[in-house]
């Protein structure tokens, strides 16, 4: 069995990705967990690239690393007192959680390895961006437009929920005034 460079790259990326994910899951420090998630997101993007999904890989980096990562960091910085012990997330129910994880792994991995997956062979490597654009404005136009409505709703909803309501306790008077 000779390992090609692609195999080596896959195993290296998978190892980094899963190590980072494990650190994000088990680290007591929530700031470190969020930064460890960076490695996971980048690793997934590399795997997308290895699967020749170039556009999705680029979007993964843009949205996850540029957007969700920053949002998570904002959430951490705005909610926890960085200097105090509150930063570390309390871990509760570790035993049931780990037990569920082991059972899930024991079911999933043999299933993934031995199930007779439908494989009609991989196509050739080619750029997908143009065909994705045509699909989004053709067969997938309706979900694409619905998604834009969803995003609008999300923006408005997030602003309404996170809006600072003058006095924090005085919610009822504030909302009555707004109506």
């Amino acid at each position: 069995m000779n390992m090609t460079l692609v195999d080596l790259a896959f195993y290296a990326v998978a190892a980094i990705l899963l190590t980072c994910a494990g650190y994000a899951v088990f680290s007591r420090n929530i700031v470190r967990a969020v930064f460890a998630l960076l490695g996971t997101f980048f690793g997934i993007a590399v795997l997308y690239g290895m699967l020749s999904a170039d556009f999705v890989a680029a979007i993964q980096v843009l949205v996850y690393v540029g957007g969700i990562q920053v949002l998570l960091l904002f959430a951490v910085m705005l909610t926890s007192h960085i200097e105090s012990a509150q930063t570390s997330s309390r871990v509760a129910g570790l035993i049931p959680g780990l037990l569920t994880g082991i059972v899930l792994l024991a079911i999933l991995v043999p299933l993934m390895l031995h199930a007779p997956w439908l494989q009609s062979g991989a196509g050739s490597y080619q750029a997908t961006t143009a065909s994705i654009g045509e699909a989004l404005l053709g067969p997938a136009l309706l979900p694409f437009e619905v998604l834009s409505i969803v995003l609008l709703g999300v923006v408005i909803g997030a602003v309404v929920v996170a809006r600072r309501q003058g006095n924090d306790e005085d919610l009822s008077g504030e909302s009555g005034e707004a109506e």
């Binding site: 899951v25 929530i30 997934i44 699967l51 999705v56 996850y64 909610t79 997330s89 509760a92 909803g157």
Partner: protein, 103 residues
């Protein structure tokens, strides 16, 4: 020829999914639970791309995963807003302590 097959990607995705489930079950910080949800979504996306790649239907899988990524971003935005509101009203993001319906 590369020996990385569909199963390789599926196993990575399965481990990632399991880690996400463990994260959601053990953490009590709302932000950490959000991290677990992102891991689950990434595992699902990796599965979709892997299946579509090895069946020569990469286009369909890519469109699916793009929608998943957009919805994950939307979900993260709403969750952040909720966590901020939670922090402002109850002074905690520990989900075990947020047990009141009317603040």
């Amino acid at each position: 020829m590369s020996q990385v097959s569909l199963e390789h990607f599926l196993v990575v995705s399965a481990v990632l999914f399991t880690l996400g489930v463990i994260c959601i079950m053990t953490r009590r910080n709302a932000v950490a639970i959000l991290i677990g949800i992102e891991l689950l979504l990434n595992a699902a996306g990796l599965n979709l791309i892997a299946f579509s790649r090895f069946n020569d239907k990469l286009l369909e899988g890519s469109v699916f995963v793009l929608f998943i990524i957009v919805l994950a971003a939307a979900e993260a935005v709403v969750a952040l807003a909720l966590i901020l509101a939670l922090q402002r009203r109850l002074r905690t993001v520990d989900v075990d302590q947020t047990n009141t319906l009317k603040g």
